[in-house]
Point group: C2
Chain length 360, copies 2
Amino acid sequence: MEKNQHHYSVIMAGGIGTRFWPMSTQKSPKQFHDVLGTGKTLLQQTFERMKLISDTSRIFVITSMEFTDLVFEQLPDLPVENCIAEPMGMNTAACVAYASFKISQLDENAQLLICPSDHLILNESLFAKNVQKAMSESLKKEGLYTLGIEPTRPDTGYGYIQYIPSSKQVKEVKTFTEKPDFSLAKQFIESGDFLWNSGMFIWKVSDILEALKRYLPDMYRAFENIKSHMNTESEIEEVSKIYPTLQKTSIDKGVLEKCEKVFVLPARFGWSDLGTWLSLFEQSDRDPQRNAVVGEEVKLYNAKGNMIHIEGDRVAVIDGLENFIVVNTDDALLICPLKNDQEVKNYVTNLRLSKADKYI
Amino acid sequence: MEKNQHHYSVIMAGGIGTRFWPMSTQKSPKQFHDVLGTGKTLLQQTFERMKLISDTSRIFVITSMEFTDLVFEQLPDLPVENCIAEPMGMNTAACVAYASFKISQLDENAQLLICPSDHLILNESLFAKNVQKAMSESLKKEGLYTLGIEPTRPDTGYGYIQYIPSSKQVKEVKTFTEKPDFSLAKQFIESGDFLWNSGMFIWKVSDILEALKRYLPDMYRAFENIKSHMNTESEIEEVSKIYPTLQKTSIDKGVLEKCEKVFVLPARFGWSDLGTWLSLFEQSDRDPQRNAVVGEEVKLYNAKGNMIHIEGDRVAVIDGLENFIVVNTDDALLICPLKNDQEVKNYVTNLRLSKADKYI
């Protein structure tokens, strides 16, 4: 099937989360790992998924300069010019602005799907249908479109989107809320008009540029001034000059929360942001003793309900452990209770404080 | 102090125990590791201890051919000709016979201390005094002398030596017994005339050769036939011919248990054979939460009573673990309850059965 020539996908692959340490490190973050043991890294899975939306020539990956080698290594099909290298990590607003200006110079009628590189989506064809729906909607009605996940539990690890109930498939957004505490999350679920913020956006490039101009005018102007350099040899040099001056904010905070024309499409395609070891555990295949195991040679005795991730050509013998996370890489070993999965980022902070940076 | 020119020490360093896996492996057994985190391997500690008994020129190390490089690397002071390479591991009787024939060719009046390379001795000067006492006793009275450790608990992991009570410091041995069960071990302790078999022996070389001739005549004859090659260029070749034909037995079983002239010197110099992770744990320095930790960078949270051994330049973060063994090497990870320390050899057997030999 010939794909719509104005449909572009932008994969954001510059993140360096610490909640998946020690598998995910500053030098090799989570998106570059086969975290589910499927034989493909999360970035590779995302790239394959984007092929359902856009022709390969219209899939872009935006990442930090230092990760471009990893991107080319993992995505041999990606056109070289479609790897956008940020001079430094500046959060998602700058990332979206850069990709939008660049693509608008190629095609002012472009429609963009912006998505993270490290999420799990189980039902990919339903995902593609939802994206197509939002794409066609965004042509009819000016605005910023997002995919909201129908929540299945009062998760305190996600941001929530409240929509105005209506009979239409695509709803008008009422409010964005930060990660709630448990009782608030329960209220959100019970009310029925809250969705999880998936961080996946769909919009016409002209609409997002208009919104950037309005809500992040400094950032807009900085890119506007150098837009003629986009897709030329001087692009990197010019972008490097403005990048350090840009506001470090997320596209949610910087634009979506302020914008009045935001729409959400409630979706249920089996989604996880794989944000912590526990969420990965929940999405992994498990053995009869409920152990989720990734590793060449892992021998378990009296082990139940563990998340075990052993990298490299290494044997592991684990006896008598219950409901633990065990991660072993060449540089690090992590053993902690599954229920402490939110502590992982604190372990990393403490390593940083004790000047053990080289391990993180 | 000029040491007695007939005092020789023989360090047996050919063992490949599996109870310390994965630190101890077939390619690099326990004696070549700094198991206590002191900065010295057990072999190095033993070699230093032998210098209290013999001049360095009269300290010998007997090991398998494949470990000689490790020996030279760890003991740069050891004279090259004092490293005796067995063509294959054949248990301690062959090992003692080989070293005894070799040394008797150098000095027929030699007195030998034979000892394992992988034991811990805390009070080294008391150890040296005990050895000197046994050496002088063995000059006065023909026989095989052994150091017996005064037991501090009904340990079922050791062999026991029963002696005939007397007022003398050096006692006559009544029986050797294998590892007892717990109730028998308790009886041994209560009776007061049982000692732990330390596997450390002292004798005149002429006495042990006499005993070998009587109790292991085939082995004796095999070495007798090639003794003129000892300490010559043809030694290795000739030894390699006879070695496969030798009886594979321990010096305890093959000689001491049968011999009538065996003596034991009860000793209390702070000894452990460091036979399992638990015994190592008991001999290690511990932090206020009773964790024994060896490793470059180990961060503990809510961890109590663990034996933690992290090799290499690797960070470990361990949270919520109590009374566990955690060992991490380049090739393997072991996590098991401390109370299961006797299971370690079974884990290794199972790895062998599942053809995961390369990890053991």
